[in-house]
Amino acid sequence: MNEPMPTLPLIVERLTVRAAQGALVDGISFCHEGGLVALVGESGSGKTMTARALLGLTPRGCRVEAQRLLFRGQDLLAATPADWRHLRGRHIGLVQQDPRYALNPVKTVAWQVEEGLRLHHRHLGRRERRERVEAMLTAVGLTPNRRLLNAYPHHLSGGMGQRVMLAASLISEPALLIADEPTSALDEALRRQALDLIASLAEARGMAVLLISHDLPLVAHYCRQALVMRHGALLETLPAGELAHARHPYTQMLWRCQPSAATYGQQLPVWEEDAP
């Protein structure tokens, strides 16, 4: 087997996150070679905890172990709190599920989008920062007029909040974007829009994206590779386009449990141990 290039966006080998009650993430290994890669699985499968380990944000009392954990060749296991502050937000961005909770309710849109520049690009002057904020908001499909810049999160619709959040994490031009269920708080129609946006920005900027999702059709449409997690372990890794023909019965169930007009009047498949 070829040794993966150590400068890949992400190399994870036997990553384990241990808490008092046991391993939440259990020895998972994967290489992120750029583009959109998805981490799929049900709630509680450990996908969010994996993302948190990659951001150095595991909750108190959790221990992160791994044989190797490399971000563009940098050893994350040896990162000090100061290293993390430099990485997080600057080189590794995060978009969370619900803009209503992820945005600061008492700060304006302009302030929040600009924050990454104030923290990580200190050489920039005020005017230059404002120009970048406006360019970024335009890039995510918003109109950076005074009304938007001075708006507070509660003034925004769900889709707009999502875009503002995306703008805030992309402004410092991270090499890796972790998107944790970025669309599940959105309407069906807005979902596609938001992912189209993430995919096109990733391509334009050469940014790697780790998309965390339980929506398999969406993953199959946008991602290159899918990592299926269950009970903290990696069940299988496959090209996202082949999710519809996955070999593992659990992945098959995840795929086929999607309701549609074609399943009208039928029982949807459920995983045996969850079934009543």
């Binding site: 709630s43 619709s157 129609a189 339980h214 169930m253 995840l254 999607q258 309701p259 007009a261 949807l268």
Partner: protein, 245 residues
Amino acid sequence: MTLAVSMRDVSIRHAAARNVTPSVREATLAIRQGEIFGLVGPSGCGKSTLLRVLAGLNGYWDGAIELLSQPLSPGVPLTGALRHAVQMVFQDPYASLHPRHTIGRALDEPLRLMGERDTASGLDEVMRLVGLDPRLLAHYPHQLSGGQRQRVAIARALLTRPRLLLLDEPTSALDKSVQAGILNLLNRLRAQFGMTLVLVSHDADVIAHLCDRAALMRAGRLGPALDREALVRALTNPERETGNE
């Protein structure tokens, strides 16, 4: 055919703002008994507002509404048999269950209100009906998974033996695989009890999977009721308009 819900020219305002434009305008709708009827539309189109009126939770409406052949009056909560016969399940089961009451206590209350003295057997029965282990009765909501909590919320609604079950986005807070189990449960309950289900959702796939008929809603306007063929056509149309902005 008897109607479970009949509405004529119903306009709805929000309780706090009686002078502003109604959030639902002149909605006319007939839902047959025993069918699964869907209300589908983007967020903010007024579909949940409409459902809350049917549940008797918002009295600021005018027009004519009959539920199970009983007329309602604006500003008057549901009365008499309707209070048992109409039940509602909300989107977020964690918010609709008391965090410091065990599941057993939460489910015991409606049974006692129904005048049952010995509730233990009834509780076990309803838990099995929704596919839960009766041992979970001793647990608190935070000890359950999202899917289990939504099953508890459905069980609570079933205790009063409703004929009309109103469901506001019952699966949108759940994983797809857990959603599948809840959708199967709803289909089974309809087949078993012949209940009428009114389902509000923004998820076209859920509506297309579950509903016998549906109506589209947009910006406070309710479209005509669509039969199966028309609803599949309307929902799978790729030119579905995109949301707000």
